[in-house]
Amino acid sequence: MGKIQEVGLDWGEVTNERAMAILNRVKALENKGYSFEGADASVHLMILHATKGYCPPFQVLDYSANVNDSNMDSASRVLKWDSKKKELGRQHGSKNDGPTARATVKVRTTNVSSFGVYVDESNTSGHELTDYVSRQYFETKTERP
């Protein structure tokens, strides 16, 4: 209950039924190995997700991750004597630079071109609105009567 009030919700917004569902969820997660101590943001989100009317700002629909790395160096394998160079060298050559993994994510989020989005420049030092966003905004406007 204390956490629910910290989140800024009235107790009326979280019915007893939902509060019990949250508690049962916490118990189930703790049995799974969760420890929420120090991870207040996760507790905050769990309560919000159990609250009627909450709509997350985005949803991850699916993802994939691939690792493509031919550098098999380890503490033992890296220390191979290079007789030509007369020094300790790598077994498979140096490939430590550059990315070794590639990931794709499919996210459902608000369509910035469906409504006018602007950035308050006084509070966004270092933020920029990309060309893509502004271009799409005007294209959308021309489509509407």
């Binding site: 997660l29 799974k32 190995g33 969760y34 420890s35 929420f36 120090g38 991870a39 207040d40 943001a41 996760s42 905050h44 989100l45 919000l48 009627k52 009317g53 909450y54 709509c55 997350p56 700002p57 985005f58 991850v60 629909l61 993802y63 991750a65 691939n66 690792v67 990315p99 070794t100 993994a101 590639r102 990931a103 794709t104 994510v105 499919k106 996210v107 459902r108 989020t109 608000t110 369509n111 910035v112 071109s113 469906s114 409504f115 006018g116 989005v117 602007y118 950035v119 308050d120 509070n123 966004t124 270092g126 933020h127 920029e128 609105l129 990309t130 893509y132 966003v133």
Partner: protein, 132 residues
């Protein structure tokens, strides 16, 4: 601060198909978690530029049941920081797939950043449909 022009927002129907969009993005990194973080930021920044000021400051992994060997449950804790106000927050996720645990903790951290700082919000019906 990320702001939405609410007067225009009201003119659009949140139930319309164009109110939300699906973005498919690719990211590269020095490992799968780094690559996923990169792809997530590429997918979210156009709609949520506020996230540009959010950085990952700590990433901890702990094995919960070592007896399960490589199939052990993994707990991932990620600490984030908002560069604009130095506020930090931590998220947690547990899964037997360390990539899934990492991505879930990452998603929670980014969602928390948005709901804590967004100047707009949307509401859903219980069935998941959006309310005006």
């Amino acid at each position: 601060m990320f702001l939405a022009n609410t007067s225009k927002l009201k003119q659009n129907d949140p139930k319309s198909e164009t109110f939300f969009e699906d973005r498919l993005e690719v990211g590269e990194g020095t490992g799968p978690v780094d690559a996923l973080a990169s792809a997530m930021m590429r997918a979210l920044l156009p709609a949520h530029p506020y996230l540009k000021g959010v950085e990952l400051v700590d990433y901890k992994v702990r094995i919960l049941d070592p007896k399960a060997a490589t199939g052990a449950a993994t707990r991932v804790l990620i600490e984030f920081r908002d560069k604009t106000n130095n506020k930090t927050w931590t998220t947690v996720s547990v899964d037997r797939n360390i990539i899934s645990a990492s991505l879930n903790a990452l998603i929670d951290g980014l969602e928390y950043a948005l709901i804590e700082n967004a100047a707009m919000c949307m509401l859903c019906d219980d069935d998941g449909s959006y309310m005006a």
